[in-house]
Amino acid sequence: MTELPSLRVRWLQALALASDAEAERFGQSFGVGDAAFELLRAPEVGLVMARGRAGGTGTAFNLGEVTVTRCAVRSSGDRIGIGWVQGRRLERARLIARLDALLQSAPSKAVDAAVTELEAARAERQAATARKAGATRVEFFTLVRGED
């Protein structure tokens, strides 16, 4: 059970960053539609302050406010699930909260495999974007002008 928190963090992150189709498929594979949930906190949209550090090491500053949607549910197995996602996405927040409650009592091997798949899909998406941007990169060369 010691690895459970980190796995939970991974699925919360993977589900928030997955595409709609991926998240839906993930939900279906764990039968989220068949389980009963009590809504503790209906999906609601709000703002959180994103903070940053210049260069990753400087003093923290407020980068700006980010729109987020959050939701909380309780499963019939008395587990509390939470869902947070960037943007105004009520349904995604609800789906994540339900899955979060459900996955806490699911066998961790199956969950781990499914989460790894989501993470791989996201890495692939990021790599594709990076390739596309990388293809337009321009290298600048200058001759040494001898000023220093």
């Binding site: 009590e38 809504l39 906190r41 209906a42 609601e44 909380a72 509390i80």
Partner: protein, 194 residues
Amino acid sequence: MGRIAAGLADPVHDAQMQFRDLLWAMSRPGSVVVLRGGLPAPPEPLVPAAYALLLGLVDGESPVWLDGDHPDASRSIRFHTGASMVAEPGQAAFAVVTRASGLLPLERFAQGSHDYPDRSCTVILQVDHLAAGAGLKLRGPGIAGTARLEIGGAPEGLVPGLQANRRRFPLGVDLVLAAGRSIACLPRSTDVEA
């Protein structure tokens, strides 16, 4: 730990409607108002009206005091409102007295200061039932002539306590009585007579 109870189903509209009801009740002391909108099932030992009002009124900047150890109520309020729970009644912006026997002397709650009389506590007192037209005689702002309010299961010493509270005006606490879905208010400006 305590069990988290569900919050308002439609937070924006329910809370607005219930705030309006509270405002109405507070400006007409002694009238019994049934809260409109959806009232979620409250955590032990709160009544629906008390829980709904807390959800609508309390936020992270208003400490709450409960009369005893109520893990379900305390966790639900913290989860939904972000408020902190305080052990000292004098530090609370909102206090909930769940049992009539739990009512402290009203002067133990924050009374406000002469510069800021609004920095006082709003006390929600749970009672068995409320009925207008009989019982205590009320006089004061918001009441044409006199009004009467019957409080079922009122704690002992409530009337002398309210009279002392009235004498401290403009300081003092404002009282919200809650029974089931109904509320009635006794602000510090109301004269109470048995």
